[in-house]
Amino acid sequence: MSTEPGTLTYVYAVTRQTEHLTDVVSGLRGIDAAPVTLLADTSDAASDPLAFVVSPVSHRDFNETALKTHFEDLRWLENVARAHHDVVQAVAAAATVLPLRMATVYQDDTRARQALGGQRRTFTQRLAALEAHTEYGVKIYLPPPAASTAGEPSGEVGTAPPTTPGKAYLQRRRIQHHAREKVYEQAQLAAATIEAIAARFTSQRIRHAPQSGALSGPQENVLNDAYLIADEHAQQFRAAMTDAARDFPDIRIEVTGPWAPYSFAMAPADAPVPADGDERAERAP
């Protein structure tokens, strides 16, 4: 359990130690296939004490300098992210879990245990709030502009046939513009619909910034929400979202999850966005 020289303690998540979970974890492998263990808060008098889910990682890869370099390396990052996620998901399947931000590392188990004890109240409260809840993501994508202007010369918008190439060009542009406007309108309507549906199941929403970087696909992402749903409502929630997607054929509505509650790991007061209110600024296009 204690870390050997040359290793550091990597923390995946907070949970509560139970016999069942100890069993589950004993079969898990984490980053670099290292064995995953539970590191219990020995000062916690509860029968199922708080515990960090940890594994040893090499000092060579996780010291400050190396980490800085590695974070620029997408391949390395993906490996660590997937290993982190796999451990979190496996624990989430067996217990309530509070995922930690990626790359939280301590010198050794003792230091990690101290940190765990130092946060006992926060962790206890948050774990209780997340019990039997699961996170789902809902995203809205717009089709690339070309795709939405397919049936151009419909005559619906234009009236008389254009008399010059210049006028024809302008008319074409106007039709394209009109089609794009319609897609945006649909997206707004869809966003409102999603919000209304979700409100039937939960008041807990985190509005992530739309994905627009190099890793996101060719379609424009205009909504990137996360919802915390009680497990007993998960099926209804997903079904309702699937139905909504059918009502908006010109845009793409994607539901992701189930996720461990990554977006809800911090208490609402600490989170970037409140669950209600009009935080439109969060939705930069």
Binding site: L8, V11, V14, F62, N63, E64, K68, F71, E72, L74, L77, E78, A81, R82, H84, H85, L98, P99, L100, R101, M102, A103, T104, V105, Y106, Q107, R111, Q114, A115, G117, G118, Q119, T122, F123, R126, G137, H208, A209, P210, Q211, S212, G213, A214, L215, S216, G217, N224, A226, T256, Y262, S263, F264, A265, M266, D270, A271, P272, V273, E282, A284
Partner: protein, 81 residues
Amino acid sequence: MSLAEYDEPLPGRQVALVDLLDRLLSGGVVVVGDIVLSIADIDLVRISLRALIVSVSSETSPGTVQDEQDEDAQEGNGRDR
């Protein structure tokens, strides 16, 4: 770097990397570990990384959990954003 390969999820419903990083880099509890690239540094690294996923201007940064008992409190161990 080539990004095309990340667009195709493997069979077995592998989570899209973009969604995964979205959560792992902006979600999760933030506790200050021992290997701190100093708070400012790690923010810079994460911001450059986040640029893969969102445009930096639209990003907001969640706060950091304070150490309740202040045992390990260090300078800058807080929401110094």
